[in-house]
Symmetry: C2
Subunit: 282 residues, 2 copies
């Protein structure tokens, strides 16, 4: 990695974004190809485990409000499940809260779009993951005109205010877009139909989404322009290469945790010599 952090390399820059200019097969910050990236991910996994434990310990012992929220977005077959399973591999699932957001239920649909989201914000000390998120309310909702524009337009600001509120409350937010090409998606969707162990994920609506590719792209571009904030930055991860996207997610999460100034609580209130004596006598 040298001097430049992956957060710098992949972070969205201010101003308009054109996803067509970002190569989906690129590997910025590449630790040296597939094998080295896999080995690096192994090591990152151990670091993630330690950082996660520190964060949980701070909440348990010091009432620290700190926690992490990874928001994962991407077109169908962009590898979100693998990014969770492998990119966060090494973490203890006991201190994680992973929530997949599907189309809202009837009850959810009767509430403000952030209502169901707020209920899933991780507790202090916990690593939260949103597999899709409140961003669907300015993406799929917009592409299919599920609500009128004067309803979804103000949502960009509402999202920024909501995320600001979370950040003020100790939530470090890291938002990742897994950026694949339309061709790569085709390959993966075909494989999903052909392989019986992958077929359960197939959903014909995903072909509809594919036919609205450019509208989704435009909708994402507006998200990156309007909802990339200092307190909740967006990262665009080129994702046609599985090894790269898994490595990049683990690295971005690690860098974010490192930026949180975590530590192991010292517990100065403990009289260690006395306790050691009591233990040895017990």
């Amino acid at each position: 990695m040298g001097e430049t952090s992956l957060r710098e390399l992949l972070g969205v820059k201010p101003g308009p974004v054109d996803l067509r200019t970002i190569d989906t097969r690129a590997t910025p910050g590449d630790p040296g190809g597939k094998e080295k990236a896999t080995a690096a991910r192994e090591q990152t996994g151990r670091a993630l485990a330690d950082l996660q434990e520190q964060m949980f310990a701070m909440a348990a012992v010091e009432d620290s409000p700190k926690r992490l929220l990874l928001v994962l977005q991407g077109m169908d077959a962009s590898g979100k499940d693998g990014a969770i399973k492998r990119g966060l591999g090494g973490m203890n699932p006991k201190w994680m809260h992973v929530k997949g957001f599907e189309a809202p239920t009837e009850e959810e649909a009767r509430h403000h779009f952030l209502w169901r989201i707020r209920r899933e914000v991780p507790a202090p000390g916990i690593v939260g993951v949103f597999d899709r998120s409140h961003y669907e309310d300015v993406l799929v909702v917009r592409v299919y005109s599920l609500v009128p524009e004067d309803v979804w337009q103000p949502r960009f600001e509402e999202i920024n205010a909501f995320e600001r509120e979370l950040a003020d409350d100790g939530v470090a937010i890291v938002k990742v877009f897994l950026h694949i090409s339309r061709d790569y998606q085709l390959e993966r969707q075909i494989r999903r139909l052909e392989r019986v162990d992958k077929r359960w994920k197939f959903n014909e609506a995903d072909i509809d989404d594919r036919e609205h590719w450019d509208e989704f792209r435009t909708a994402y571009e507006e998200v990156f322009e309007r909802c990339n904030t200092p307190w909740a930055p967006w990262y665009i991860v080129p994702a046609d290469r599985k090894w790269y996207r898994m490595w990049a997610v683990s690295q971005l999460v690690k860098e974010t945790l490192e930026g949180m100034r975590l530590h192991s609580p010292e517990r100065r209130e403990l009289d260690i010599p006395r306790l050691l004596e009591r233990l040895r006598d017990s």
Copy 2:
């Protein structure tokens, strides 16, 4: 492993159990020492991931009620956290629900002891883990006389009935006791005090528990005699060796999942040639 499953080797046999006769450093079914066990666990992790995905797919696509519940018990410092993080490594945390049970809150204490447990039973398709469980209500509660004997005595039968109900509802239950020696616990507790990264877990009440070692042992022995049922078997895992206990947990969970007759849903309702054509034209 040869012919004998680890479930057979570690499963509690009918009749009285004397934990003092079970060597905490033993390695029944040992795949060939530490290095081989670690490699075997790596491979088991991949199998666990596939089996977990099948189970989730069956729930999502076929409304299958099948799910898994791993109940972990053991004295303080017996390695429950590591068994979750490493023994279930490879699984997708999105399809897991891990719940640690501590001393009941005031609200929980006002309810039947199974009330808070029922709320955490995994949904169909999900791998549930209880880090401590309803068994504390016949263990710690008994050792410290937190309720009178005529309250905790009937609980063995209530637990069997409850677990039977879960099993009838599609829950495959696997109950693991991590069996450590008093000396090994001392070593680990000293280390916990000495190492600042482990110190957050220290709790002086754990020294009290240590001073009631034999009463806990007797209470566990009665659990194994009375709550080891065909629908919710107990396994005693010798746990003084970290590599063995992590391997054994992954292996027991794998064998349990294999016994559930899982499969990838075929989705005969899909007209695959038509869908492939639609995809390729899209």
